[in-house]
Structures are given as structure tokens and as C-alpha cells.
Subunit: 226 residues, 2 copies
């Protein structure tokens, strides 16, 4: 196993895209070995592995919290599993839902908007018949929401967050939201985090996250490849 190679943060979008282009066509296993990262036995163990591998390869400032993966150039990295038709196989996690009421009351100050302002999408083969290390990386796509996309996101966010801030988070189903949904984001169903309750007081509830529906990310990729 070679030394884990340290990759410096990219200083421009052009530099980032050049690196990302150079990954296209390579396998995850190949890239992982180059960076000294062990390969998990299967996908069940190692759900976040692909994201970690690409982060290392592109020089993301990993581990920081509300900041973008590429802090210097304010770009967020998202790996996305796609099928042979290049359509996403999964929804995409965005960030946690602020449940405690200290949330921004406005879309323009929201973490969702900040995270999605500029995203480098890295598609990769998500077919479960292919083992993790054999999966190939696809062509990258640097994206910002179109005016229409941002309107749709803002609309979903406002509808959902209104209910959260009124203490109605327990009543929110993943069926709601045209492009943005709220779903559990936890180690297991027993996890608890304080949230605004129906009475207005804080009470424990299951932690949740914002996710982009696969239909939404499919449209993003399609627009690009068209």
C-alpha cells in the first residue's frame, strides 16, 4: 500500500474540473489504492466510501462542518450513483434539518441554499451487480441551480420549514416536496435530537435531513448531457 497521497485544495474551478475530468473513466478501486484508502468488503458497510475516495482524489478540505468541500472556491462535492441510462439510482443528501428553532427563517439564509449554490456532481456506476472497487467514475458536471430550479427548491424548503418551526416535524412525510424532501438522518430509529415540539417547548425527536429527489437530480444531469 503506497503512502496516502495528500492532494492540495484546488485554487480555481478550472483546476477542480481538470482534476475531475482526469478521474472520468477510472475505477473507484484504482483511485482508492492510489490514495492509500482501504476498500470495504461491500456497499452495506461503507455507504459513504465513494464520497470519501473522490474527496481525497480532488483535494477536498474534508471534515469541516457548514463549509463547502472546496472552501477556497466555494464548491460542494456530490458523488451520485447512476444506472446505465445515467439516471440517478438514489436521492442525494443535502444537510441536516435545523429542528431546534435556531434555524434561518428565510430561504436565502438557509444551509440548503448555501450547499447547493455551486455543486460538482461526480456520477459513478451504481449498479449493485458491480463491486465497489470495479465501479467506474463518470464525466463530472459543475452546476448551479437555474432560476426555475431555485424557485422549486425555495418553495419546497419554505413549506417544509414552516411546519418544522411550528413544531410539526413529526407529521412531515417523505412524500412531501416536489424536489426537496425531509427524511430520517440517523444511526438508527432510536436516535434523538431536540426539536421544537407541538407545545412550543423543545422535545426529543428523530434527527432528519434534507434530500434531493432522484427525479430532480436526473433533470440536472439530463440538461447537461443534452
Amino acid at each position: 500500500m503506497p503512502e496516502p497521497r495528500r492532494v492540495l485544495p484546488p485554487r480555481s474551478e478550472a483546476e477542480l474540473l481538470a482534476r475531475a475530468d482526469a478521474l472520468a473513466g477510472r475505477t473507484l478501486g484504482d483511485v482508492a489504492v492510489e490514495h492509500g484508502l482501504a476498500v470495504p468488503a461491500n456497499t452495506r458497510r461503507g455507504k459513504g466510501w465513494t464520497g470519501t475516495v473522490i474527496e481525497h482524489a480532488l483535494g477536498a478540505n474534508a471534515g469541516s462542518r457548514p463549509e463547502p468541500d472546496f472552501r477556497l472556491i466555494s464548491v460542494e462535492l456530490k458523488t451520485i450513483p447512476v444506472g446505465p441510462d445515467r439516471r440517478p439510482l438514489e436521492s442525494t443528501y443535502v444537510c441536516t434539518v435545523p429542528l431546534a428553532g435556531d434555524a434561518a427563517p428565510d430561504w436565502r439564509d438557509s444551509n440548503v441554499r448555501r450547499k447547493l449554490a455551486r455543486v460538482l456532481w461526480m456520477p459513478f456506476e451504481g449498479d449493485r451487480a458491480i463491486t465497489l472497487p470495479e465501479r467506474r467514475i463518470g464525466a463530472p458536471l459543475l452546476w448551479s441551480p437555474s432560476p426555475g430550479e431555485e424557485l422549486a427548491l425555495a418553495s419546497d424548503w419554505e413549506t417544509l420549514m414552516d411546519r418544522v418551526m411550528l413544531g410539526r416535524v413529526e407529521e412531515i412525510s417523505a412524500r412531501e416536496g416536489e424536489c426537496l424532501q425531509i427524511r430520517p438522518k440517523a444511526a438508527n430509529a432510536a436516535s434523538r435530537r431536540l426539536a421544537v415540539g407541538a407545545s412550543g417547548a423543545r422535545e426529543p425527536t428523530l434527527p432528519r435531513g434534507f434530500y434531493l429527489r432522484a427525479s430532480f437530480t436526473a433533470a440536472i444531469l439530463e440538461r447537461y448531457y443534452a
Copy 2:
């Protein structure tokens, strides 16, 4: 190495004291081995080791946060290193200082008071010439503050917390406080936690803890042995 023995929580002060008495005279190494705990190379590495060993041996519900070590009977455990004269060699950490302004404004609701309401003191040989595993455990002492002790603690607490809540924590020195002092409690001097600042806004500062001066705990032990 034997299996780490699981000790059930004591159900009464009498049961706790009986167990503590049974430890008196034994060495830390002896007790540690009995509970499957590894012995650190030296005291620099392993500062909290003595406390952990005694917790295991007495059946403390370790790891919980604002609760006493022995939750069922509301007793806190404190190990305390003493010299040949049985006087404490170190101050005693009590709890973290609430810096963010969400603190109790009153002594009676304070964590310091709750922690010290009922304490099992376990003295042990703290002489640095004796290796950790060779150090012997002393006679236990179950203590609650006398009216005079509580007055002194409350007075120090109120003086110190007034300044914290006014955003003056940076100005507090460990020289202040007759029996209770405020000192850094952090991994290193670069650690930061939000506190009420001089302007009233939250700003990062070094995390701090409440400590009992050695002169105060010396008086407690002395009162008992007299």
C-alpha cells in the same frame, strides 16, 4: 487477562461504602487487573486512569453527563491523590463552567452544587515516586458539605458566575475564589468554546472548569480523620 468484570450499580449508600471499604489497602494495579483494565505506561499518559479504575470497581454508571456517577443513590465519586500526611496533592475538578449564558442564575440550581451534594471521596497514594499500579487506595469518606462549607462554595460561585455572565470570563484568574476556582479545562490552549463576550455577543474563548482548591479538600479529609 481475565474478562472485564461487570459490577452492578450499588443500590444504597451502605452497599457503596461496603464496596469502597473493601478496596482500602489494595493497589490500583491489583484492582485494575481484576477488572480487565490495562495499566498506562506512566501518569502523564493516563491522567484519568485512577478515576476509571475505581468507577469500574464500584459499579459507577460511567459516561453519563449531568448525572451523578451513582445515579440510583445520587452520589458522585471523586478519587483524590494524597501525600503521606493524607493531604491532597492536587485540586479537584468539579464540572465545566457554563459560559454561553444559558447558565443557572442561582447557586441552588447550579451544577457545582448538584455535583457536590453527596460525594464519595476515595483517597489514594499520589506520590510520584510510586508507580501507578503500585499505589494503594485509602479509606473512603462519604461527604456532604457542612453549612459553612456550602456558604463558602456558594459565595465563590456567585462572585465568579456574576463575572462570567457579564462577559468577563477572560479576566478571571485562578487566584480568585477561597475554595472554588475557575481554571482552563481543555485539550490545549487552542481549544475554543462560545461564551458571553464583553459586548454581550457570543465569542470564542478557552473552555474552563470549576475546581476545588486542595486546601478545601484537605479540610474535608481532616475533619473526617480527626
